[in-house]
């Protein structure tokens, strides 16, 4: 495992910021951390980067303890903070060069590719850039070194929809190159789009871990019947079946033919099959709008 936390806990006095987090991220895996403000997402990330000392438990990146051996752990990580603050007295290129030197890394021709992709002139002073442009510069310095683990705290904040798509594509490509990506977000759709796995936090606890491939195989089905039917015998891969008058609601996993054969025996007036989204999972733990 590239990243492993065991019972990772952080208290601020009597306040529990994170409690007994067990999380593993493998190389090439893209993991999203979901949860409302105060659920412990940023605390978890700050613990991984060695900004905070854990109250108990332990986290390691590539076998290096995130607190005791934080420098070596951070050699494997590049990080984009949520609250982005840059050195305003530098130009974009100066910032990228400065941070690269701290990594003993020379920006390659990929810098120009990213510059073209993000459509930004990095020779401009950061003080004269908009918040979205600054975020692009920060993203470039995160994506350039191609570290084994990329940690991003709400990375799409202040990005326009085009840039957001570019970024998500970049994250997907990073995963394909074997880089692991861990990112927190409030936006379920973007997590759904790129993540292999999602961890949902609630009041500092990991309450659910969802494999997205499994979730994508689950369909949400709504059937409207023309007349009432008694003694329904659904196939085995139908779950959470509920009836409301002439309407059936259920979840289905697996190949469609079984489902369609069963539906063909029913007096179906209307049928809606859609992929199960992260919204339903998330809403089990948090009301949207939390």
């Amino acid at each position: 495992m590239l990243l492993r936390t065991q019972q990772l806990t952080k208290y601020y006095g009597a306040i529990t910021a994170l409690e007994r987090l067990d999380l593993e991220v493998a190389p090439g895996e893209i993991v999203g951390i979901l949860g409302p403000n105060g659920s412990g997402k940023s605390t978890a990330i700050r613990l991984l980067l060695g900004f905070l000392r854990p109250t108990s438990g332990h986290a390691a990146i590539n076998g290096h303890d995130c607190w005791a051996d934080s420098v070596n752990a951070r050699r494997f990580v590049s990080y984009l903070p949520g609250e982005l603050r840059l050195y305003e007295n530098m130009t974009g290129v100066q910032l990228i060069e400065f941070l690269s030197r701290l990594r003993a890394y020379t920006p390659s021709s990929r810098l120009h590719d990213l510059q073209r992709l993000f459509d930004i002139d990095i020779r401009r002073p950061l003080a004269q850039m908009s918040s979205g442009m600054k975020r692009k510069v920060a993203l470039m310095q995160v994506l350039l070194p191609e570290t084994p683990l990329v940690i991003l705290d709400e990375p799409t904040n202040t990005l326009d929809p085009n840039m957001r798509d570019h970024l998500l594509t970049q994250l997907g490509q990073a995963g394909k190159r074997g880089q692991a990506v861990l990112f927190s977000s409030h936006v379920l759709s973007e997590v759904e789009q790129v993540c292999d796995r999602v961890a949902i936090l609630q009041q500092g606890r990991l309450v659910h871990s969802q494999n997205m491939r499994e979730l994508r195989e689950v369909r949400r089905v709504r059937v409207v019947l023309t007349e009432g039917v008694t003694g329904l015998t659904p196939p085995m891969n139908v779950a959470a079946l509920t009836t409301q008058g002439l309407e059936l609601h259920f979840q289905h996993t697996g190949p469609l033919p079984d489902l369609l054969r069963w539906l063909a025996e029913l007096p179906v007036a209307d049928l809606k099959i859609e992929p199960m989204g992260l919204v339903e999972i998330y809403q089990r733990f948090h009301q949207l709008g939390d």
Partner: protein, 296 residues
């Protein structure tokens, strides 16, 4: 890697350094002019008007009167002779304005160094890179060690050029030897280092630059006042050795050719350097062990 940080920090402070260096340089030129006027024109004029030097010396520097005590406390030293250009010139190294410029520079830089970075949120960006927290403190120490001597040298160049332009180096029998001022820069360096070290400790443990500024200014202002008041009132004199300004004594170095054999001079220098070093050690320990708070 520390050198990368040092270069960046030097780049950050260059403008403020230039302003402070210019102020110190100009003050030395101004004080050379004042010294020239006082020692060669005003005192001579007063003597022609029948006011003796002894009377004036007693009036201005009398230790048993409030005004004399105040002037003495601000001028520094016990052996100031108003008609001696080198004594008058030495005041330029203890003048409250110089102490204020040096203090604000050292304090401001140190307050900004860690608490300022945390406050602005750029510390996260820095510490997300594979660098040790101790490297950040070490880089700040390197910047002090590079920057402070350059400020001292600029100050001395001001003294040299000022006294040269005012003809104070060529006065018969009372000429100023500017090279005698050079070793006194050890005191200036030590004072800057002690202020910087102590403030760095506050900075490493704080999260708000403004709060660190507030605490450090209160501390050093209290020390300055205690040192001045301690010279005026014997009741609080015992507190003076606990202030860094008590140990800041450049004048005996300028006045005594054999200053290096005087143990007390090394003792005072040692106290200042130890205070600064102690501050840096506290900063190092504190910063390496603390949680890095989220930006304000």
């Amino acid at each position: 890697m520390t050198w990368v940080l040092v270069r960046k920090l030097l780049r950050d402070v260059r403008m403020a350094w230039f302003v402070v260096a210019l102020l110190l340089f100009l003050f030395q030129l101004l004080w050379s002019r004042i010294t020239s006027r006082v020692t060669t024109e005003i005192l001579a004029g007063l003597q022609r008007a029948g006011i003796s030097l002894e009377f004036l010396q007693n009036l201005v520097l009398r230790r048993d009167e409030m005004m004399g005590q105040m002037v003495q406390a601000i001028m520094g030293g016990d052996r100031i002779a108003l008609d001696q250009p080198s004594d008058m010139m030495s005041i330029a190294y203890v003048h409250p304005l110089v102490l204020t410029i040096l203090g604000i520079w050292a304090l401001g830089r140190a307050a900004n160094a860690i608490a300022g970075e945390i406050d602005r949120g750029t510390m996260e960006l820095l510490l997300a890179q594979p660098i040790r927290r101790s490297q950040i403190v070490l880089a700040q120490l390197c910047v002090d060690v590079i920057i402070f001597p350059t400020l001292c040298i600029v100050m001395w160049i001001g003294t040299y050029l000022g006294t040269s332009w005012m003809g104070l180096q060529d006065l018969p029998a009372r000429s100023i030897d500017p090279w005698r001022f050079l070793p006194a820069l050890l005191c200036v360096f030590a004072l800057l280092f002690s202020i910087s070290g102590v403030t760095m400790a506050f900075s490493a443990l704080g999260r708000s630059r403004a709060r660190v500024w507030g605490v450090a200014i209160s501390l050093f202002l209290s020390m300055f006042l205690i040192n001045v008041l301690g010279q005026m009132w014997t009741e609080v004199e015992w507190l003076r050795p606990f202030t860094i300004y008590y140990h800041y004594r450049p004048q005996p170095i300028m006045q005594s050719p054999a200053w290096h054999s005087e143990g007390s001079i090394w003792f005072h220098l040692g106290v200042l350097i130890s205070t600064g070093a102690g501050g840096y050690v506290l900063a190092w320990i504190g910063f390496c062990r603390r949680d890095l708070p989220a930006p304000l």
